[in-house]
């Protein structure tokens, strides 16, 4: 009988297209945490998160905000002395959390990403005004006002499209997507 994969193995399996070394080669040196420009806003630093994945601490890993606060700047990746693609590992945990719907409601990142992908699947292009509601309502009144002001200025400068753009061969595009994700694709 095959043993059920551990959490660490599950995340490792999501890293198949990465050119980096496996997470298990982490030496816990902390170069990633020292390099990360967002580390101070994370519940757990990147170094700790990798340690927690390797220790199969599934609940604790999924409960923290670390991977959704990763901006994908790859500074940790290019500096890791163990050659782990750490930013790619953050993507792997993001995907895991989206598939298993484990994200806390107050996190904006997952809703933002899913809305973006839905927009593209339906039109072939991204469109900023559709994305705004995914994060604006998480703001307090002051932040909401500031963001609305920025958006208004962008509009006045002609920097936001009035109508959502779409590609020409949209039908082909949608059929193409259905060959990748056959169930629950766009109607």
């Amino acid at each position: 009988m095959t043993a059920k994969p551990t959490f660490g193995q599950e995340i490792a399996n999501l890293l198949h297209a990465s050119h980096g070394k496996p997470l298990s080669s982490c030496i816990q040196c902390g170069t990633c945490s020292g390099t990360c420009p967002v580390a101070e806003y994370m519940d757990q630093t990147p170094r700790r998160l990798i340690g927690m994945i390797n220790a199969n601490m599934k609940e604790e890993v999924l409960a923290c905000n670390t991977y959704w606060f990763c901006a994908s700047c790859y500074h940790c990746t290019v500096r890791c002395p163990a050659q782990i693609d750490i930013a790619e590992a953050m993507y792997a945990v993001k995907r895991y959390s989206i598939w298993h719907k484990t994200n806390k409601e107050e996190l904006v990142g997952p809703v933002f990403s899913e809305t973006w992908v839905k927009t593209i699947v339906n039109s072939g292009r991204s469109y900023e005004p559709v994305l705004a509601p995914t994060y604006m309502f998480s703001f307090g009144p002051k932040e909401f006002f500031q963001e609305a002001l920025t958006a208004t200025n962008l509009m006045l400068k002609g920097r936001i499209p009035v109508l959502p753009p779409r590609i020409k061969r949209l039908e082909n595009f949608k059929k193409m997507i259905r060959r990748i994700i056959p169930v629950g694709g766009p109607s």
């Binding site: 420009p37 700047c73 990403s113 595009f173 997507i177 994700i181």
Partner: protein, 294 residues
């Protein structure tokens, strides 16, 4: 004239329209033709990869396949578009199984991909394929004395593509110097602007923008130059919010490197898209512009 398939990406249609026009104008002056990719789709930035990797690579591959069909190498002007196109292309070359899956999907749009086109960032083409010397010879309105902070950001240099120097790159500075401007010392030039965190983790991103602006100013920059629409928006359009949050008083113009190149080669300000900024660069640029063009 050397031709490339140009992938502008969604931002360049409106949000970064000045990047689009200034790219086209500068390239033309340098004998490079940027032919916009026919019926391109969004590259997904970082978000496709949060949801599904195979779907993400397929959507990026469609653009690459259209370039391949035209027999041209692909040039992207947004750093995220560039990074996505570069690595999807590489994975397709190296992983026949992935290529087979993707090609099965691409059949629906009568496309096929082998991974034979090369992928470049526009800045790479201008700095390496054209070169600073050639640019210098085309400069008619040198920006002598203008102090520019050359801001690389992240994905134009990272992850490492082919053994290049990711800790101390110089290609951006070489372009700025070619215009006659001075590339100031700028330790934060490789530090991330926060990218889409500006929407999803606002407080963290505003802090990141604040640090970069502070660093540029402390080193005497009059203008920040960028090579990515998201960097431009975060550093410029969010300055007012940074000022509000941190009690700062920034009014630092943030331009695309192609706008500076274009101006130095005598392209009129309107044609490099000047006028769409939140923070006007005119106080620093007017001394270089001919009276009739101001």
């Amino acid at each position: 004239m050397k031709q490339y398939a140009f992938f502008p990406g969604c931002s360049l249609e409106k949000l970064a329209a000045s990047y689009y026009v200034s790219s086209q104008e500068s390239a033309k002056k340098l004998g490079v033709e940027l032919r916009e990719l026919e019926d391109w789709n969004c590259c997904g930035a970082t978000t496709y990869f949060h949801v599904d990797q195979l779907l993400a690579h397929t959507l990026v591959a469609r653009n690459l396949a259209i370039a391949e069909k035209a027999g041209l190498d692909l040039v992207a002007s947004c750093s995220a578009c560039y990074k996505n196109a570069y690595f999807t292309n590489q994975h397709i070359q190296e992983d026949p199984d992935l290529a087979e899956h993707i090609n099965y999907a691409l059949e629906e749009d009568n496309l096929q991909i082998k991974g034979t086109s090369k992928v470049y960032h526009l800045m790479e083409v201008l700095a390496n394929e054209v070169g600073a010397e050639e640019i210098k010879s085309k400069v008619t309105h040198p920006l002598t004395g203008l102090k520019v902070a050359a801001y690389y950001g992240c994905q134009i240099v990272r992850p490492r593509k082919n053994g290049e120097n990711v800790e101390n790159p110089q290609f951006f500075e070489s372009l700025i110097s070619a215009t006659g401007a001075e590339a100031v010392n700028f330790p934060d030039r490789l530090r991330c602007c926060g990218g889409s965190l500006i929407m999803t983790s606002r407080q963290a991103a505003l802090d990141m923008v604040n640090k970069i602006l502070q660093n540029a100013l402390a080193n005497g920059a009059e203008v920040i130059a960028t090579a990515c629409p998201l960097c431009q928006v975060n550093l410029e359009c969010y300055q007012a919010q940074v000022n509000e949050e941190f009690g700062t008083n920034y009014a630092l113009p943030v331009l695309y490197f192609t706008q500076l190149l274009g101006l130095a080669m005598g392209v009129p300000p309107k044609k490099v898209g000047l006028g769409k900024e939140f923070v006007s660069a005119m106080p620093f640029l007017s001394r270089y512009l001919q009276k009739e063009a101001r």
